[in-house]
């Protein structure tokens, strides 16, 4: 390929490339604004549940307080026994 051909192709690439980059990011602006609007409308300021599961099984749907208390109690008791 001669230099001028190559350069022309480069120019083309530049035009197409910058167009796509700008177009893609403008689209992304639009999407992000849509998301923000949707969140503001349908899920304003959710309070995060903050559950962080241990490995390998998740904490699951079971989250009533009594259970947590029970587990804690059982573990404490068991440990106490094991240490003796």
């Amino acid at each position: 390929m001669s230099f001028s051909e190559l350069f022309l192709e480069g120019l083309q690439l530049m035009g197409v490339g910058m167009t796509i980059v700008v177009a893609f990011l403008i689209l992304l602006i639009g999407v992000l604004r849509l998301v923000a609007a949707a969140v503001r409308r349908w899920a304003p300021e959710e309070t995060a549940p903050e559950a962080r599961p241990a490995f390998p099984q998740g904490a699951g749907a079971v989250t009533d307080r009594r259970l947590t208390a029970a587990i804690t109690a059982a573990v404490v008791q068991y440990r106490k026994r094991r240490r003796t």
Partner: protein, 378 residues
């Protein structure tokens, strides 16, 4: 213009198939369940993301030259990833409750009936046009009843790699659903007075017994069921790292670095098996159905064996703990505890359920070994 055309032809829009778009939706659904419903997020989030990436048209991320495809080839086709995770599970698991009361192994054994019943179920589905499960397929589907992710992935990758995606999704989804699936069955099969049975406190387990435990399991496995040796071996290796007390560095590596890194890779790689042609068919519906069946049957037979043990011991065993025999550690044990508390606010069954719970892990590794020996090599 030529460049623009070339670019258009390289867009996703110009190349999307309906199947890919749907599977990206499935991936999104899995991630939604993982984040919003806390369905086994450690696995389902990477699996869902892997599904999205691998169903991206043109990019070929799940193909032989794509990143996720290569990870699958190195980690799952070889079986190494599930085995490494099993090592980590071993290093994270306290078998003390099982050592203190070995009889709970019977509960872990009984719950494996879910596996073999499901195998028959899968074969029976072949009567319906559209289903054509081979014996290997049926075995892979059945192992969902083991309620053990790495075991299911290991077996399915050996016997039916094409079904791996659906099987992994079913296995982890039902594990997350254990708190919904199990309680009705447990209540139906037990009487109020049975559910109120208080059990004796577990005896103390010495450090030496903990160290000897992996060898006890290993010796039986090596002499009687070598086809289960890779799974059981890595599980017990991890546990020995934990209990030996002299290699804390390695134990921590198995419990953290290795299991975390491998979980990310394994999840993405399993996601690559969630392709439209392999997932969007009637067989997947069958697998989901059979998976639910497997969990139900396993829970039921576990509880029934619990009732038997209750009878034999003269009421010293609360039959509820049999439900924990399906494994799904530690979820199933927690469910037992919860159902028990409904009948007696002061009856904490958690520690008693840990025995059958970890017995279920061993039980399904044994079952996987049997299926490998009889179906895989056969």
């Amino acid at each position: 213009m030529e460049k623009l055309l070339l670019l258009w032809q390289s867009t996703g829009l110009a190349n999307f198939t309906w199947g890919q778009a749907l599977m990206i939706g499935v991936g999104g659904l899995l991630i939604y369940l993982a984040i919003a419903k806390k369905f086994e997020p450690l696995l389902l989030l990477p699996i869902g993301f892997g599904a999205i990436l691998c169903n991206t048209p043109v990019a070929g991320i799940g193909g032989p030259d794509g990143m996720v495809g290569m990870i699958y080839h190195v980690g799952i086709e070889t079986g190494i990833f599930p085995l490494l995770i099993f090592m980590g599970v071993g290093a994270l698991t306290d078998f003390g409750a099982l050592i203190a009361r070995p009889s709970t192994l019977l509960l872990g054994a009984a719950a494996q009936f879910g596996i073999f019943a499901t195998l028959l179920g899968a074969l029976t589905l072949n009567l319906i046009p559209g289903f054509d499960f081979s014996m290997a397929d049926a075995a892979s589907i059945a192992i969902i009843g083991g309620a053990d992710g790495p075991t299911a992935i290991f077996l399915a990758s050996r016997l039916s790699p094409d079904l791996l995606g659906a099987i992994a999704v079913a296995a982890y989804s039902y594990m997350a659903l254990v708190p919904l699936i199990q309680p009705p069955i447990m209540r139906a099969l037990t009487s109020e007075s049975e559910r109120q049975i208080k059990m004796e406190q577990l005896r103390h387990v010495s450090k030496l017994e903990r160290i000897l435990f992996p060898f006890a399991v290993l010796v039986l496995c090596v002499t009687l069921l070598p086809s289960a040796a890779p799974l059981m071996g890595m599980l017990m290796f991890g546990n020995l790292l934990r209990e030996s007390g002299v290699v804390d560095r390695l134990s921590r590596a198995a419990q953290n670095e290795i299991i975390n890194v491998v979980t990310i890779m394994l999840g993405l790689a399993v996601g690559s098996k969630l392709s439209a042609e392999m997932f969007l068919n009637v067989q997947t519906l069958g697998i989901l159905l059979l998976g639910a069946l497997a969990f139900c049957i396993g829970t039921a037979t576990g509880v029934i064996m619990g009732k038997v043990m209750c009878k034999v011991t003269g009421g010293k065993v609360n039959p509820l703990i049999g439900a924990a025999g399906v494994s799904a550690v530690p979820m199933a044990a927690r469910v037992v505890n919860k159902v028990g508390l409904e009948s007696d606010h002061h009856n904490f069954l958690l520690m008693h359920a840990m025995g059958p719970n970890v017995a279920g892990v061993i039980g399904s590794a044994v079952a996987a070994g049997i299926l490998l020996a009889l179906v895989g090599g056969g």
